[in-house]
Amino acid sequence: MGDFILLMISAILVNNILLIRFLGNCPFLGVSRSMDTATGMGLAVIFVLTLAGMITWLVHTYILIPLGLEYLRTIAFILVIAALVQFVEMVIQKTAPPLYEALGIYLPLITTNCAVFGVAIININEGYDLITSIFFSFASACGFALALVLMAGMRQRFALVRIPKPFEGFAIGLITAGLIALAFSGLIGLV
């Protein structure tokens, strides 16, 4: 159990998927303008990433390896993720309409969120077993949500301050992200 806790802390704080590993930066800057959208996207990513981490691991271990098709990993994973996102969208729409209302528009965006695909690849590259993969996927997604919500909290305040003209929009967003990343890199000695 101790190993899992260490893995969680490391994936959320030390090797944060957004700020240190640089995965999923497009939605990070795209949907972090307000707190509501950031929380919605964060929850959607936690849900899909955990499922995707599990399913891609199963596909890789029980389909690709026995058939000797490891080189098709990229194609197989992206198809699995695209199909999964579509499927999750339909299931949520049928069974939990309020959740669908909240997550609806963010779900399709997740297909091209490189965090999902990246974590699936990391799981395989690091040789994690099924349980570790699920834990790592969940923890990475929590790290994603944490960074996204932090960023949204900061960006909401930009509306109230005067920013030099050339820095408006994405430029100040990137520099803020840099400062958050700097704060996170102070936690490197933690694990």
Partner: protein, 203 residues
């Protein structure tokens, strides 16, 4: 819509990742040195050119409802090709870029061009668009890579260019440095655009 314009717009007008804020992950992650930037840029260009060409050739045959899935399969096939080619001929670079080579498949620039441009235009114009945007992306990565390599380790493409007592600025090679460098570069580009617009208005 001239061929020349479709090719050159990728260099300034809509140069990724500055004007089109897409494809940030590889931009931030691999630009610790200029050579990595070029390698990533060229691999992306390769995929972008061929996926644009193929999407454009097949645009009448792909049903509109499943177009995104079809584009992703086309892109993924070329990414696997790029991955295997790099593994065979440029192994050290393949190692240096690591996970970001398979991740070209989720680079939103490529899907974005397939959806916004190649699926609506003929193959020759789409090819020009892919080449222009791809080279623009390569140049952006190269510039960012140069800045980070110069300040972070005092070299450009591995050659020492700073004076002998230069203290490398390790912050630039770390993840936070990537965000800050890209943010400042973007602000600089906005400044130049504003200046141009003002000059244009004064005429």
């Amino acid at each position: 819509m001239s061929l020349r314009h479709e090719f050159t717009k990728g260099f300034w007008e809509i140069v990724p990742p500055f004007r089109l804020v897409l494809g940030l992950c590889p931009t931030l992650a691999v630009t610790t040195s200029a050579i990595n930037g070029i390698a990533m840029g060229l691999a992306t260009t390769f995929v972008l050119i061929f996926s644009n060409l193929l999407v454009s050739l097949l645009r009448r045959f792909i049903p509109i409802q499943v177009r995104i899935a079809s584009f992703i399969v086309i892109i993924a096939s070329f990414v696997v090709m790029a991955e295997l080619l790099m593994q065979a001929y440029f192994y050290p670079l393949y190692k240096a870029l690591g996970i970001f080579v398979p991740l070209i498949v989720v680079n939103c620039i490529i899907l974005g061009r397939a959806e916004a441009f190649a699926s609506k235009n003929n193959p020759i114009i789409s090819l020009a668009d892919g080449l222009g945007i791809g080279l623009g992306f390569t140049i952006s990565l190269f510039v960012l890579g140069c800045i980070r390599e110069l300040l972070g380790s005092g070299t450009i493409l591995g050659f020492h260019v700073m004076w002998s007592g230069f203290e490398p600025f390790a912050f630039m090679l770390k993840p936070p440095g990537a965000f800050v460098a890209l943010g400042i570069l973007l602000a600089l580009m906005n400044l130049i655009s504003q200046y141009q617009a003002k000059k244009g208005g004064a005429k």
